[in-house]
C-alpha cells in the first residue's frame, strides 16, 4: 500500500452522529433521568467514544489483525510459552450457550454440567500431576504462583511456623517467581545454577534453613533441562521444613512421563494456555489452576467443586485462604483445556510430550554448530542457545530475533533466562511439522552466516514487516499511552 501512516486509530475515524450498533428502542415509559439520579451524580460531558459505522469497525480490526503474527499464521517458537496449535473445535465447544450464557450465581441445580466439567478437570490435573486436589480459580500462571505461595504461607502459619519468610528461587527462574513471592511478603533467596544447568545443590544446602518457607522450581527448568538432582533438592527443602512449588509452565515436556508429585513437589500450577493448548489471545485470558497434596487441600481458595452421588456442588475447604478472584476462574478457558485433555487421553498426552521433546532436540542438534550451546545435553521441550559467537561480529541476539521476523517466523524468547548470556530460548512444540522445523533450521543458519557476511543487515532488521524496528526508548521517555486529539 501507498499509505505511509499505517492503520488510523478508530478514534481518529469518528464522524459526529455516525452510529454502528444500535440497541432496540426503549419499550418502557421513560422517566426523566434527573428524577432518578441526582444531577450532581451525572456525567458532565459524554465520553468521547468513536462515532463509527459497523463496517469501519470490522475493517479496522481486520486490517489490524493482518499486521499480526499468530500460531494460525506461522511458526511461533517462543520459548517458555508453548505456542502450540490451538484446536479450533475447542473454540466451538467453549462457545456453546450452555457454557457462555450461564450466570455464576445460578442455582447449582441449573449448572450441573459446568460443575461436572470443573470437577473432572480438577481431577484430571491432579492425576496428571500426581497430587491430590485442585483449585481452578487462578487466572494465569503468575496468579497460580501467587495462590500457591499464599497456600505455603497459610500452611506454615497453621503449623505455628509463621516466621518462615524465605522462598528459594534459582537464578534461571521466570520473573513471575520472585515477583509472586514478593506479593506474599516473602524474601527471595536466589540459588545459582551449576555447570549442568541445574540447581547448585551445594549452594542450596547453604541456603535452606529454619526460615525456608519453600522453593520454587520448574523442571525441566527454563533452560529446558531436567534437573537430575530433584530427589536431593526435594529432600533438602522438605528436611528443612519447606515446601516445594512446581512452576508448571514447562509441563509440556513431561505429560504422562513423570509427575511433579512423584518428584516431591507439594504444589503445582499449570498454564492451561500453554500445556493444554488454550489460545493465548494476544496476552490472555489464560488459566493457572493449582494442584496440591492432600495436606494442603484444606487451604485451597473457595469455592471448589464437590461431588456426592452424582450431584455437584460448590463448597468451602475447611481452612480456605479465601478467594484469589471473583467467581470460579476463567471458566471458558477451563472448558477448552478439558476438551483438549478429553481429545488426547493418556496416550495422547504422552505423545504430546515425547514429540515436543523430540522436536526440540532435533532443532538443538542441528543448530549447535552455528550457535553456542551453553549446556550440551539432551534438552526437554525447549533449549537455550547463546548469541555470543555472533556478538563477536557486532550482532546481538536482538538482531538475530528481528531478522527471523523477515522469514515469517516469530522470534524465540530472548535474553531469558538471565543466567545465559545473549540467550535465545527456542520451543518448537509438538504441533509443528518437520518441514517447518527444517525451514527454521535453514533460516537460523542463514542468519548465522549473515552475521558474519553482512552484520549490518541484521542490525537494521526486520526489513519486510509492516513497521521497521521501533524506538522503545522513545516510547518510555515520551509517554504516549492514550489517544489525544
Amino acid at each position: 500500500m501507498i499509505k505511509k501512516t499505517g492503520v488510523p486509530l478508530l478514534l481518529e475515524m469518528s464522524s459526529p452522529g455516525r452510529r454502528g450498533y444500535r440497541f432496540p428502542e426503549l419499550d418502557v415509559p421513560p422517566v426523566s433521568v434527573e428524577e432518578l439520579i441526582p444531577q450532581e451524580y451525572l456525567r458532565e460531558s459524554p465520553a468521547e467514544l468513536p462515532e463509527v459505522s459497523e463496517v469501519e469497525v470490522v475493517r479496522h480490526y481486520t486490517q489490524l489483525s493482518r499486521l499480526n503474527h499468530g500460531v494460525d499464521v506461522g511458526f511461533y517458537p517462543l520459548g517458555s510459552c508453548t505456542m502450540k496449535y490451538n484446536p479450533r473445535v475447542n473454540e466451538d465447544v467453549a462457545a456453546l450457550p450452555g457454557f457462555t450464557a450461564i450466570h455464576p450465581y445460578q442455582p447449582e441445580e441449573t449448572v450441573q454440567g459446568a460443575l461436572e466439567l470443573m470437577y473432572n478437570l480438577g481431577n484430571y490435573l491432579a492425576d496428571i500431576s500426581g497430587l491430590h486436589a485442585a483449585t481452578l480459580q487462578p487466572a494465569a500462571g503468575a496468579h497460580g504462583e501467587l495462590t500457591g505461595l499464599m497456600l505455603i504461607r497459610a500452611y506454615h502459619e497453621a503449623n505455628g511456623e509463621g516466621h518462615r519468610n524465605e522462598i528459594i528461587i534459582p537464578d534461571s527462574a521466570h520473573g513471575t517467581n520472585p515477583a509472586s513471592s514478593a506479593m506474599v511478603g516473602y524474601k527471595v533467596v536466589e540459588v545459582p545454577s551449576d555447570e549442568r544447568g541445574g540447581v547448585d545443590v551445594e549452594a542450596l544446602k547453604g541456603l535452606v534453613g529454619p526460615n525456608t518457607a519453600g522453593l520454587m522450581l520448574t523442571n525441566p527448568n527454563t533452560l529446558g533441562l531436567f534437573d537430575e538432582n530433584i530427589c536431593t533438592i526435594a529432600e533438602l527443602v522438605h528436611d528443612a521444613g519447606g515446601l516445594l512449588y512446581y512452576d508448571g509452565a514447562n509441563a509440556n515436556a513431561i505429560l504422562g512421563i513423570v509427575r511433579p508429585g512423584d518428584m516431591g513437589f507439594d504444589i503445582v500450577h499449570y498454564n492451561l494456555h500453554k500445556t493444554f493448548s488454550t489460545p493465548h489471545g494476544g496476552g490472555g485470558p489464560g488459566a493457572g489452576p493449582v494442584v496440591v497434596t492432600e495436606e494442603l487441600a484444606s487451604f485451597l481458595p473457595w469455592p471448589i467443586v464437590e461431588e456426592r452421588e452424582g450431584v455437584y456442588s460448590l463448597v468451602k475447604p475447611e481452612h480456605s485462604i479465601g478467594r484469589v478472584k471473583s467467581f470460579y476462574g476463567n471458566f471458558s478457558v477451563l472448558v477448552k483445556a478439558y476438551a483438549y485433555i478429553r481429545s488426547h487421553g493418556s496416550e495422547g498426552l504422552r505423545e504430546v510430550s515425547e514429540t515436543a521433546v523430540l522436536h526440540a532436540n532435533y532443532l538443538m542438534r542441528n543448530l549447535q554448530d552455528v550457535y553456542f550451546l551453553p549446556y550440551n545435553r539432551a534438552c526437554k521441550h525447549e533449549f537455550v542457545l547463546s548469541g555470543k559467537w555472533q556478538k563477536e561480529h557486532g550482532v546481538r541476539t536482538l538482531d538475530i530475533a528481528k531478522r527471523l521476523l523477515d522469514y515469517g517466523v516469530h522470534a524465540p524468547t530472548i535474553y531469558f533466562p538471565l543466567n545465559v548470556e545473549e540467550a535465545i530460548m527456542i520451543e518448537p512444540t509438538e504441533t509443528e511439522t518437520k518441514e517447518t522445523l527444517d525451514e527454521f533450521i535453514a533460516a537460523m543458519r542463514q542468519i548465522a552466516e549473515e552475521a558474519e557476511s553482512n552484520p549490518g543487515n541484521l542490525r537494521t532488521a526486520p526489513h519486510f514487516t509492516p513497521v521497521g524496528r521501533l524506538d522503545e526508548a522513545r516510547a518510555a521517555r515520551h509517554l504516549i499511552l492514550t489517544w489525544k486529539k
Binding site: 505511509k4 450498533y21 426503549l26 415509559p29 433521568v33 459524554p46 465520553a47 467514544l49 462515532e51 463509527v52 459497523e54 469497525v57 480490526y61 489483525s65 499486521l67 499480526n68 500460531v71 494460525d72 511461533y76 505456542m83 450452555g98 457454557f99 450464557a101 450466570h103 455464576p104 450465581y105 441449573t110 459446568a114 492425576d127 494465569a140 503468575a142 496468579h143 499464599m150 521466570h174 520473573g175 520472585p178 509472586s180 506479593m183 531436567f226 530433584i230 512423584d262 490472555g284 485470558p285 478467594r323 478472584k325 481429545s343 487421553g345 542438534r365 539432551a378 524468547t413 518437520k434 513497521v467 524496528r469 521501533l470 522503545e472 522513545r474 518510555a476 499511552l481 492514550t482 489517544w483
Partner: protein, 447 residues
C-alpha cells in the same frame, strides 16, 4: 484426536539426526524411579465428532440464559453483545497470538491495546490505563496495593458496600502483604457508606479510601464527599466503577479519583459462569502511572518515522524487575479487553449513553412494577442504577426454584452474603417490557 503431525518415519529421521535410538533416550536424565509406568487414569481419547457430542451433552446439563429470562446480576450481567465482537476476536491473528513481545509483527495486538487503553481512559476520565488485569476484584486489590506503595501508608479503607467477593479478594491480597484494612459501614436507611463514620476513621494513616459505584446493592454512593475526605488527609481515592454506568454517571476523573478500576465483563463479554472477564485499571498523574501494574502499550515511531506501538515502561514488570516489580502479573485478559474495545467502538458515543439510559429506565420500571406486589418493599432509599435490593419475608431461594419452572432466573437471594430477607435484582437493556410484565405476574402468584 491428536494434533501431532510427525509421522513414524519423520520420527525416525529426527532421532537419527539427533543421534539417539529412541525417544526414551531423551528422557534418560530423569531418575528412573520417578518415571511413570502406568497410563494416566484419564478417559479414552475422543475424536472431534465424539468430543463435540460429549461437550454438547455437558452443556445441556446447564440451563442457559438464552432459554430463560434472567434478572440476576451482582457482578455478572446479561447485556447485549453485538455480533461482530466474536467475529473479530475469533480471527486467528488475535486469538492465537502471544503477548506482543515482537512489536514489528504484533502491531495488530499492540494497536488494539493502545486503543483499549484510550477507551478506558476516556470512559473513566483518567489519564492512562493499563492493558488489563484478571478481573475487577484483582484490579481493585492491585490498586489498593499501589496506593500503599505510592503513599507509603499501610492502611486501606474499604466500604461494607463493596461486592462481598471483591472484598474477600482484596482482603487476601492485602493480608498477605500485611496491610491493615478498616471497613466503613453503610447507613441502614440509604444503603450507602456512612460518611459520619468514615470521617472519624484513621484517615491520616490511610493509603486510600475505596468506593464502589454503584455499590453492591446497586446504589449510588456520594463518591465526591468520600474522595474529598481522604484527599484532605493526603491519601488516595480509588473508585471501583461499573463501566456501563459511566454512560450516565460522573466519571472517576470528574469526581477527582486517583485510580479507577472495574470489571469489563459487561462490555461485550459473555457471562461464562463468571469468567474470563477483564479488569480495567486506570490512573492519573505520572507518579501513579509509572507504578501501575501490568502491561502498558505506548506509541512510538519506527526508523522511518512511521507511527507504531510497543510495550513500554517494562522496567515496572516482573520479567525485568523480578521481586521488585510493581506486580507479578504477566498474562492478562487481552482478548476480553479486545472485546471491550470492539464493543465500545461499535456502540460508540451515543450508544454508550443509551446503554446506561436503558438500563436505568428498565430497572426503574421493574422496581415500580415489583413494588405493586404486596409483601415486597425497598429497604434502601439511595438512588440506584441497574440493580436494586428488594426486601420480603420470603424464602427467596425457594421462590427462585419456582420461577425457574416459569422460565425465569430471579434476583440473587442475598442470604448467601448474610442478608436474610434481601434479593438483588438486575435489569439490563436486554430485558423487554413484556418479559418484565410477565415476570411480575408470575412472581405475584408465587408470593
Amino acid at each position: 484426536m491428536r494434533y501431532i503431525p510427525t509421522t513414524e518415519s519423520e520420527r525416525k529421521e529426527m532421532l537419527e539426526s539427533i543421534g539417539v535410538d529412541s525417544v526414551a533416550e531423551l528422557f534418560d536424565d530423569i531418575p528412573p524411579q520417578m518415571i511413570l509406568n502406568n497410563p494416566l487414569p484419564l478417559p479414552d481419547p475422543l475424536s472431534e465428532a465424539e468430543l463435540v457430542r460429549h461437550m454438547e451433552q455437558l452443556a445441556e446439563k446447564n440451563v442457559n440464559l438464552k432459554e430463560i429470562v434472567s434478572f440476576m446480576g451482582a457482578g455478572s450481567y446479561d447485556h447485549l453483545i453485538p455480533s461482530i465482537v466474536k467475529h473479530i476476536t475469533g480471527r486467528g491473528e488475535f486469538l492465537t497470538a502471544y503477548t506482543p513481545y515482537q512489536a514489528e509483527i504484533s502491531q495488530g495486538v499492540l494497536q488494539s491495546i493502545f486503543e483499549y487503553q484510550s477507551l478506558i481512559a476516556e470512559i473513566t476520565g483518567m489519564e492512562a490505563a493499563n492493558a488489563s488485569m484478571y478481573d475487577g476484584a484483582t484490579a481493585l486489590a492491585e490498586a489498593a496495593l499501589m496506593a500503599c506503595n505510592a503513599t507509603r501508608r499501610e492502611l486501606v479503607i474499604l466500604p461494607d458496600t463493596l461486592h462481598p467477593e471483591w472484598r474477600e479478594v482484596v482482603q487476601l491480597y492485602l493480608e498477605n502483604q500485611d496491610v491493615e484494612i478498616q471497613y466503613v459501614p453503610y447507613r441502614s436507611e440509604t444503603g450507602t457508606m456512612d460518611h459520619d463514620v468514615l470521617q472519624d476513621m484513621d484517615l491520616d494513616r490511610a493509603a486510600c479510601v475505596v468506593v464502589q459505584q454503584p455499590n453492591f446493592f446497586g446504589l449510588l454512593e456520594d463518591a465526591q464527599s468520600a474522595g474529598d475526605l481522604i484527599h484532605d488527609k493526603g491519601g488516595l481515592f480509588i473508585m471501583a466503577v461499573d463501566p456501563i454506568s459511566l454512560g450516565l454517571l460522573k466519571s472517576p476523573g470528574e469526581i477527582g479519583a486517583d485510580i479507577a478500576v472495574g470489571d469489563g465483563q459487561s462490555l461485550g463479554n459473555t457471562m461464562s459462569f463468571g469468567g474470563p472477564s477483564v479488569g480495567f485499571f486506570a490512573a492519573r498523574g505520572a507518579k501513579l502511572i509509572r507504578r501501575m501494574p501490568g502491561r502498558i502499550v505506548g506509541e512510538t515511531v519506527d526508523e522511518n518515522g512511521k507511527r507504531g506501538y510497543v510495550l513500554t515502561l517494562q522496567t515496572r514488570e516482573q520479567h525485568i524487575r523480578r521481586e521488585k516489580a510493581t506486580s507479578n502479573i504477566c498474562s492478562n485478559q487481552a482478548l476480553n479487553a479486545l472485546a471491550a474495545s470492539i464493543y465500545l467502538s461499535v456502540i460508540g458515543k451515543e450508544g454508550f449513553r443509551d446503554a446506561a439510559y436503558q438500563c436505568l429506565q428498565k430497572t426503574n420500571y421493574l422496581k415500580t412494577r415489583m413494588m405493586e406486589i404486596d409483601g415486597l418493599s425497598l429497604p434502601f432509599s439511595a438512588p440506584f442504577f441497574r440493580e436494586f435490593v428488594v426486601e420480603g419475608d420470603i424464602d427467596w431461594e425457594e421462590v427462585n426454584l419456582r420461577l425457574l419452572e416459569h422460565g425465569f432466573l430471579g434476583g440473587l437471594p442475598l442470604n448467601r452474603f448474610g442478608y436474610e430477607k434481601y434479593a438483588l435484582f438486575a435489569v439490563t437493556e436486554a430485558r423487554t417490557k413484556e418479559e418484565m410484565d410477565n415476570f411480575v405476574q408470575v412472581l405475584r402468584g408465587l408470593i
